[in-house]
């Protein structure tokens, strides 16, 4: 006579089930509470695997951006320092330039010129030490693609007088990085084929041009860069590896009679090291007799210069290549300091001014590059901060709880749990046994 009804409940089972439901609600409530207190939607990756991975990736990106930015700050500070250093160097060269101009004053005595040379020499040391400046981490600022700790070595007794101990070239900017060094070779060194920096000295029989006669030259003009390139390579391959051969022209003949009205100068040419083929031994220049300006001399391959004044027998012209701004300054110090008379001083001043200008143009080009890099750093910083905000919001979207929604959910659950507890307690009170007495 058992009563089989579809809605029959086992008392113990009903209690068990209600209890399990209550426990589930409690667990949900506890999870929500944990989320609210930690501020995280995801407390375990299994809550939302995609979100967890997204948050993890965003965190990685954020750390990456921070590290990129830290590296960029180091690079920027180095470049800023390098730019400032180039500014200091330009200032020093400007002062030197003024001193050189003043040395051209015809009223100055040799002693006064020696004093000026001394001042230039002091500034030269400053330029050299500035060029070897290192950044806060001890890296040379002008290391180019890599260099010794002191990239500019010199002066040295053997050729070349100054050496760039490094790898010329400029590092490219990357998407999130700029180079930390500037190309010191490009800034301070002079390549014959690229820049054509030469120093010309005139003299006579081992001394200066005698007083009363004037003979100067203008500066070297490059007539054929290809020849210069070839010759420079040949010179670099010889012992001592000078940047370019030096030339000495000695006037060993002044012929005014063979062709009337035309003067022909004959020189003996010495090339050191001798690399040209055929070997340079002699050369001639002809000009209308009586010309005192712009007498062209084109006997050296790829180069030319003009005489100003009156060339005479046993006059010598020494053409020395200058491989760097430092060598230019060195020859300025020597030539101005040792100029015995106004003629020698004029020659030295003219040479130095032109060469200095060439060198300063190079420095200013590299300084412009530094300015570009600093701009680039600025824009990368902006990009980085935007990326950071983006990733931060990705991360937040993926794992942070929406507080409003969270609290509302919590309240809902709380109400539900309360209702469940109350109904459970009330149903528990109901029993037929209560009515049997």
């Amino acid at each position: 006579m058992s009563v089989n009804s579809f809605s029959r409940l086992g008392t113990a089972n009903a209690y068990d089930n209600t209890l399990v439901n209550l426990q589930n609600r409690q667990a949900t409530l506890a999870n929500l509470q944990e989320s609210l207190s930690s501020g995280k939607k995801i407390t375990s990756p299994s809550d939302d695997p995609t979100g967890a991975a997204q948050a993890e990736r965003a965190l990685n990106r954020i750390a990456r951006i921070a590290s990129d930015q830290r590296a960029l700050e180091a690079q920027r500070s180095a470049i800023t320092q390098a730019e400032g250093t180039l500014g200091d160097i330009t200032d020093a060269l400007q002062s030197i330039r003024e001193l050189v101009v003043s040395a051209g004053n015809g009223a100055y005595s040799a002693a006064e010129r020696t004093t000026i040379a001394g001042q230039i020499s002091g500034l030269r040391d400053r330029v050299l030490s500035l060029a070897n400046t290192r950044d806060g981490n001890g890296m040379p600022l002008f290391a180019a693609l890599g260099s010794a700790l002191t990239p500019f070595a010199g002066p040295q007794s053997a050729a070349p007088d100054y050496r760039f101990d490094g790898l010329p070239g400029q590092t490219a900017t990357h998407v999130y990085a700029i180079p930390a060094t500037l190309d010191g070779e490009s800034a301070f060194m002079a390549q014959p084929a690229r820049d054509g920096v030469f120093n010309i000295k005139v003299g006579n029989s081992g001394g200066g041009i005698p007083a009363g006669r004037t003979l100067t030259t203008d500066t070297i003009a490059v007539t054929d860069k290809t020849i210069l390139g070839t010759t420079a390579n040949l010179a670099a391959a010889t012992a001592g590896a000078p940047v370019y051969p030096a030339y000495t022209l000695t006037v060993n003949g002044v012929d005014t009679t063979t062709t009337p009205g035309t003067t022909t100068l004959t020189y003996a040419i010495t090339e050191t090291p001798a690399v040209s083929t055929p070997a340079l031994t002699t050369g001639t220049t002809s000009f209308p007799t009586g010309t005192k300006a712009d007498i062209p001399v084109t006997v050296i391959p790829g180069l030319s210069f003009n005489f100003h004044g009156t060339p005479a027998l046993n006059d010598t012209v020494t053409i020395a290549p200058k491989g760097s701004v430092f060598s230019v300054l060195d020859s300025a110090v020597t030539d101005i300091g040792s100029a015995a008379n106004a003629n020698a001083a004029t020659q030295a001043v003219a040479q130095t001014l032109t060469n200095l200008d060439t060198c300063m143009a190079r420095i200013s080009a590299v300084r412009g590059q530094a300015g570009d890099l600093m701009n680039r750093a600025e824009s990368i910083t902006n990009i980085n901060s935007k990326r950071n905000i983006e990733q931060e919001s990705n991360r937040s979207r993926a794992e942070d709880i929406d507080m409003v929604k969270g609290i509302s959910d919590f309240n809902n659950q709380q109400t539900g749990y309360q209702a469940a507890l109350q109904t459970y307690a009330q149903i528990k009170k109901l029993s037929l046994f209560n009515f049997i007495s």
């Binding site: 006579m1 058992s2 009563v3 809605s7 029959r8 409940l9 086992g10 008392t11 113990a12 089972n13 089930n17 399990v20 375990s44 990756p45 299994s46 809550d47 939302d48 695997p49 995609t50 967890a52 991975a53 948050a55 993890e56 965190l59 990685n60 750390a63 990456r64 590290s67 990129d68 830290r70 590296a71 180091a74 690079q75 981490n137 001890g138 890296m139 040379p140 290391a143 693609l145 890599g146 260099s147 010794a148 700790l149 790898l167 010329p168 070239g169 400029q170 590092t171 490219a172 900017t173 990357h174 930390a180 070779e185 390549q191 690229r194 390139g229 029993s431 037929l432 046994f433 049997i436």
Partner: protein
């Protein structure tokens, strides 16, 4: 005197009914108790001329409310629930071992990779170097910690399995005993309700541990079967189950086996899948294995890539870099052969042995592999994670000089490399059909991962090669990157003096590579690579025969005649080129196409998805189990209100019966008084 008799019988019957109701109330909370009901029947009447006069009531039997179908449903659903829940719980634990965020392995790996950036900025800075070493150590430690927590979890699982197996054996024995008792009790003609309830409850308990099917025997005993119908209990005899290793003695996997009459059979945990033991086995054999492989893959790929790159660099003393991390090597743990209790053949018949090496860390798949030979020269490799089979041909090695090793050629790649793992065999390898090998490339990698040295000076962050842009270049070339390609064995890289020269022509810009150490006689004799098209930002690679190569990346446009010289780096102390190269490993697509930095995110999401889906299954099967149990309890369970009503009902009947006796007595008295007059 009929009424007295009927009254007495009624009293007795109702008393039994009251007692049974009381028993129901008493057992309201007893698990597995089925409520009992008294079945009464009217006694045959006495024939008179007026018809049959009823002779009262008797208790025919006491039956339990029981439905075999509902019982079986509940026990089956309970088995599924137990399996799914235990697996979900374990996966949840596994998930907590590999958390995201700053404390995770991913953050450690990323911090380490980012630390290379600081060293690249300041190569000579001892602080940056020391920080990098600390980060390397931290990453290695977290890899090891990951492996250690997996091992802890594994030992917990092993212990749990052993306890559960002991439980199964006890339960099986108890069921067998009960079978015996039930069979004897049934002999009496009445059903022993409580014994049956107890046996059903034991079977239900057993099903929670391992899914069973039951067949009732005519003698009242129940045969209990597990796995693919392997008898665990037959009549009064019980077989024993045990945990055994898999075919290859893989220490991270196990199987349930059953031994009856000296014969052991290994069961598959997936057929049928119910019961806690199967759930745990599935967790151990599939989920744990995947977690181990994922961790091992990250460990192997990241440390190998860093080691390889580090060996391309030079340290502060100009020495070639050594391993930064413990190098991952493969031994007999990683290449396993079948061993007892392998089902088919207990050992390989051939004498072959395999060797495995890392070929390409970017192609790794987090999986074990099974190599099986279908003949001495062919077979297939099955990737266990997804079951993809790759067939191969095998060329046996030769022991006669010059000795050669046995080589594999995989279909598709044409090489002996499968998923970045290079395989070959010893010279004496002579496989026969049926030989099998299990490759576990990633299971052990993280166990002993450590940083190899702690000398900041020995960090080889300098580039062995350097590039020089010719000072007289007229174009806008700038150096994006220069890197060594392969490793010089001991000393600094002997790469020396190659020039890359550019020609701009009508057909675009092209480059040639000139070896400056070769005299240019006749003209062009020193050109080693002629006229290749140049693209800004694309690496120019060259590896001379028998010497390390280089990869040169330039940006900008060259002018005709511009050149770049590549030579040995003579300024290593100020160079962080190799640190940059290591830092750039961050973006190498390494884990199924994801970048190195995102490998860990992939791992936690893979494990998270597993945990999530296991959680869903557990919820579903719990609901099903709850409903099935509700249905069973609806029929068999005690309802107190019902019993209260019955109490009243039987109490009234009992009181009525007593009244009957009282009336019989008063009739008798009336009769006696009448006689006495």
């Amino acid at each position: 005197m009929g009424i007295l008799n009927i009254g007495t019988l009624a009293l007795q019957a109702n008393q039994v009914a009251l007692q049974t109701t009381g028993n129901n109330i008493a057992n309201v909370n007893t698990p597995g108790y089925s409520r009992q009901t008294v079945q009464t029947q009217a006694l045959p009447g006495q024939y008179t001329g007026a018809g049959y006069i009823g002779k009262g009531v008797s208790v025919e039997s006491i039956t339990r409310s029981y439905d075999a179908f509902l019982n079986r449903q509940s026990s089956l659903a309970g088995a599924s629930q137990a399996a799914d829940t235990v697996r979900a719980e374990h996966l949840k634990q596994l998930g907590t071992l590999f958390q995201g965020g700053a404390e995770g392995l991913g953050a450690a790996i990323n911090d380490m990779m980012n630390a290379f950036s600081d060293v690249a900025s300041t190569p000579a800075d001892q602080t940056a170097r020391t920080v990098l070493l600390t980060r390397l150590d931290e990453a290695a430690r977290r890899m090891q910690a990951g492996a250690a927590s997996l091992n802890d979890l594994q030992s917990g699982v092993t212990q749990g399995l052993n306890e559960k197996v002991a439980n199964v054996n006890t339960l099986a024995k108890n069921i067998a005993d009960l079978n015996d008792q039930v069979a004897r009790a049934l002999g009496s003609g009445q059903t022993p309700n409580d014994l049956l309830d107890r046996r059903d409850q034991l079977i239900r308990d057993l099903s929670k541990l391992v899914q069973t099917s039951q067949i009732a025997a005519p003698d009242g005993s129940i045969g209990v079967f597990i796995g693919a119908s392997h008898p665990l209990v037959l009549g009064n005899s019980a077989a024993t189950v045990a945990i055994t290793g898999d075919d290859f003695g893989d220490p991270f996997k196990s199987k349930l086996s059953i031994t009856r009459d000296g014969t052991t059979i290994v069961l598959d945990e997936n057929y049928p899948p119910g019961g806690e033991i199967n759930g745990m086995l599935k967790f151990q054999n599939e989920d744990m294995t995947e977690a181990r492989n994922l961790l091992g893959r990250i460990t192997t790929a990241v440390t190998t890539a860093i080691n390889d790159q580090h060996k391309l660099g030079l340290d502060l003393d100009g020495k070639v870099g050594t391993n930064l991390f413990t190098p991952v090597t493969f031994g007999s743990d990683n290449i396993r052969v079948p061993m007892a209790p392998a089902n088919l053949n207990s050992a390989n018949a051939g004498a072959g042995s395999l060797t495995m090496a890392i070929s390409d860390v970017t192609r790794f798949v987090a999986s074990d592999y099974e190599i099986s030979f279908s003949s001495a020269t062919a077979g297939s490799a099955v990737r266990r994670s997804d079951g993809v089979a790759t067939s191969f041909t095998f060329t046996p090695g030769s022991t006669t000089p010059p000795a050669t090793r046995g080589t594999f050629t995989f279909a598709g790649t044409g090489t002996g490399v499968i998923d970045g793992l290079a395989l070959d065999a010893s010279t004496s390898a002579a496989p026969v059909a049926g030989d099998r090998f299990l490759l576990k490339p990633f299971s052990y990698a993280a166990n002993s991962m450590a940083r190899e040295f702690s000398t900041p000076r020995a960090l080889a962050v300098a580039n062995p090669v350097a590039a020089t842009l010719t000072a007289t270049n007229k174009g806008s070339l700038a150096l994006s990157g220069i890197a060594a390609q392969t490793q010089a064995s001991t000393a600094a890289s002997p790469i020396d003096n190659f020039s890359v020269t550019f020609t701009v022509g009508a057909g675009g810009t092209s480059y040639s590579i000139v070896d400056n150490t070769i005299p240019n006689i006749p003209v062009g004799a020193n050109i080693v690579v002629a006229s290749q098209p140049y693209t800004s930002g694309q690496a120019i690679r060259y590896t001379p025969a028998g010497a390390p190569g280089f990869a040169l990346t330039l940006s900008g446009q060259p002018a005709s005649g511009d050149s770049v010289t590549v030579k040995q780096n003579s300024f290593t102390s100020q160079n962080g080129g190799n640190a940059t190269a290591m830092m750039n490993l961050r973006d190498v697509a390494m884990f199924d196409g994801a970048a190195l930095t995102d490998g860990y995110a992939g791992m936690i999401s893979t494990l998270g998805v597993r945990a999530q889906s296991a959680d869903y299954s557990a919820q579903v099967s719990t609901n099903i189990a709850v409903n099935a149990e509700k249905d069973r309890a609806g029929l068999s369970g005690v309802n107190l209100d019902e019993e209260a009503a019955k109490l009243l009902q039987y109490q009234q009947a009992y009181q009525a019966s007593a009244k009957m006796i009282q009336i019989a007595q008063s009739i008798f008295e009336t009769l006696l008084q009448g006689l006495g007059r």
